[in-house]
Symmetry: C2
Subunit: 143 residues, 2 copies
């Protein structure tokens, strides 16, 4: 999660919403790390999790990240949650909870849908305070 | 929708699930057209809609596709539905309904969530028979 926080801080420095994500393989090796890039890439799908999933799939040469785990500083949105399911990630560790935009514990609760075919194990609240503080100070500075 | 069906047929010829998507600007000019590429790109996020959104945003140099419309041969999944919302697409025209994996009229019904901040107008059932037949014959041939 420390690596994901570093990616989030780097995103903030680029003027992006500070969210970072890391994917590790079953041996704990980092396959991919990314921060949010929606502004830099002018791409509404360029969330940290999506970029990490795409990079990890490219690194493995496979569209399924079996037995791999994701660390992300904020509760994933519905788009990213569904991508996590498609990617067959084993575990998701997330930092701050996101009542407004989250898609795991909030909104459509993607993994609780009967039409969701792969549900990762979920561990929320890791480094929650630091992850949340990064977001709060980013939005405070922009207001 | 005819162009989206052509993309879907081309996807089938590549061995991909036959789904195609097209994005047009307010003047009706095609900004992007794509077929599903999850296998070719080894990317679990490479659905036709995601590729079309990313290409259209790149073409416009903007992460928001204001007043642009999406044509897609199958009801979008929850990942694509959320990406459609983030991209601020104005209208979504889709072909076949998808009770198993759809995210608009089925499953998490992304646009009906109170946490969904942009809801496009939705028009389902366009060229439904042809779009559905493409999918049925693809899966029948694979069984």
């Amino acid at each position: 999660m420390e690596r994901a926080l570093r990616e989030a801080r780097a995103a903030a420095e680029r003027g992006e919403v500070p969210i970072g994500a890391v994917i590790v393989d079953p041996a704990g090796t980092v396959l991919a790390a990314a921060g949010n890039r929606t502004e830099a890439d002018r791409d509404p799908t360029a969330h940290a999790e999506m970029l990490a999933i795409r990079a990890a799939a490219a690194a493995l040469g496979a569209p399924r990240l079996v037995d791999c785990d994701l660390y992300v500083t904020l509760e994933p949105c519905p788009m990213c949650a569904q991508a996590i399911s498609f990617a067959r990630l084993r575990r998701v560790y997330f930092g701050a909870s996101d009542p407004k935009g989250g898609g795991i514990d909030h909104g459509p609760r993607i993994f609780s849908q009967p039409t969701c075919h792969h549900r990762p194990e979920i561990y929320g609240g890791l480094a929650e305070q630091e992850a949340g503080e990064l977001l709060r100070s980013f939005f405070k500075a922009r207001r």
